[in-house]
């Protein structure tokens, strides 16, 4: 007799474990299901436009307000697309260090830092405006490539 007051033998425990494992696998597969390529492309473009506008606002004070407004709209659009893309298909992903599909786990940690690494030289040469523009372009390209790659492999 277990603590729930109901009898539980090894066979039942084994089948419950198997059911739980199957449920986890099903949820993981549903979360990694193909998403329309448009989400990745839209996210990349809105992210790039938002950061480029912020960078230009720093360089062109005359158009500052309009550029900041454009950046706000674009980055809001990015967040909306991010939200819609994550919820597409009815299951949102959970965080897994192992990304599967033969991709080594270290890539999941290193890849997000690549746009940051690319934009750092621009920050050294052109200052904060250069960093914002380079970071926007690199991250935007990253989103587009990831969206295209996922749509291609899923």
């Amino acid at each position: 007799m277990d603590s729930t007051g109901e009898p539980m033998d090894a066979r039942q425990a084994q089948s419950a474990l198997a059911a739980a494992c199957a449920a986890r696998v099903a949820a993981r597969e549903a979360g990694e299901r193909e998403r329309p390529r448009g989400y990745g492309i839209g996210q990349g473009l809105t992210f790039a436009v938002g950061f480029i506008a912020l960078g230009l606002a720093d360089r062109e004070p005359r158009w500052g307000i309009w550029l900041v407004a454009a950046a706000t709209v674009s980055l809001t659009g990015f967040l909306v697309l991010l939200w819609l893309g994550a919820h597409h298909g009815g299951v949102t992903r959970w965080f897994h260090r192992d990304r599967g599909s033969g991709r080594p786990p270290w890539q999941a940690w290193v890849v997000p830092f690549i746009p940051l690494a690319i934009s750092l030289p621009a920050a050294v040469v052109y200052g904060s405006a250069g960093w914002l523009i380079a970071f926007g372009l690199a991250s935007g390209a990253d989103y587009v490539l990831r969206g295209t790659w996922q749509a291609g492999t899923a």
Binding site: M1, D2, T4, D9, L17, A20, A23, A27
Partner: protein
């Protein structure tokens, strides 16, 4: 099941004991949030059964329910809370312990039989 070692039996969680609840919690543990229809289709239960199950798990604090709209369509999303994730991990560990204990007992029994 009684523990052959004489110790306390592993603590299974009463709230996750039912197969549907366990499947639901396990499914939600591998995703951030899942839509009501997806859960219903996976568990192969009726809308009302799933609704009751989710409400019961929400009362215990294992599941969080969020209602929203996707376009004009109302949608219900469920996610496993941190408390729920811990409870599920404990429950699965207890199940594993029951299965392992039985395996050990069966192994010892086989050794006795071959020894005598």
């Amino acid at each position: 099941m009684t523990d052959p070692t004489g110790g306390a039996p592993p603590a299974l969680d009463r709230e996750l004991h039912h197969p549907t609840r366990l499947a639901l919690a396990a499914y939600l543990s591998a995703c951030g949030e899942a839509e009501f229809a997806v859960l219903r289709d996976y568990c192969q239960v009726s809308d009302s059964t799933l609704s009751k199950t989710l409400s019961a798990l929400e009362k215990t604090g294992y599941v969080s329910i969020r209602k929203g709209y996707l376009g004009k369509r109302p949608r219900t999303w469920a996610g496993l809370t941190l408390t729920g994730r811990r409870a599920l991990a404990r429950h699965l560990a207890a199940l594993e312990e029951i299965a392992a204990t039985a395996r050990r007992a069966a192994g010892a029994c086989a050794e006795d039989t071959t020894g005598s």
